[in-house]
């Protein structure tokens, strides 16, 4: 199911601590690999994040202005 099997021998891998890191270790053959692997930052991630924030800021300002003029002004 949502468990990891060893790519080496197919046995169940368990999550253990090695130094400061959480790793997956095979209970049979000892094969190890990090639970959460490090991946370097990709330029595409930068674009996704940047443009989402830009859109978010622009829409926050625009929508806040619309809501204030049409709705909130009636409650102040």
């Amino acid at each position: 199911m949502a468990e990891e099997l060893c790519p080496n021998c197919g046995s169940l891998m368990e999550i253990v601590k090695k130094e400061d890191e959480d790793i997956l270790r095979c209970t049979s053959c000892g094969y190890e690999r990090p639970l959460i692997e490090y991946e370097p930052w990709d330029p595409m991630e930068g674009k996704l994040v940047k443009w989402t924030i830009v859109l978010g800021v622009i829409l926050t300002i625009l929508l806040a202005a619309v809501v204030h003029m049409t709705i909130l002004s009636q409650y102040s």
Partner: protein
């Protein structure tokens, strides 16, 4: 265009696609697609492109307490060029 739909599983090591007697696997989805191409090429010699749908067997792969939160995991559609 011919369309085939597979149930998809992950056994912790590799992805497995099943449709009745057709069973194909691969450690990555890319490898799975390549293996599918080879298998389907043998079976459907006259077809140039086949549309392959694969739905991950949600109830096998995800604990039952999580099913109520979302109706399915993923459904992929791949157009395999067989020539």
């Amino acid at each position: 265009m011919k369309t085939i739909t597979f149930d998809l599983y992950h056994d912790g090591v590799k992805w497995i696609a099943k449709n009745g007697q057709i069973i194909v696997s691969g450690e990555t989805l890319e490898e799975l697609d390549e293996n599918l191409k080879l298998k389907l090429k043998d079976m459907f010699e006259d077809e140039k492109t086949i549309k392959v749908n694969m739905e991950l067997d949600y109830r096998e792969m995800v604990p039952h307490w999580m099913w109520q939160y979302h109706p399915y995991y993923f459904y992929r559609t791949v157009y395999l060029e067989l020539d």
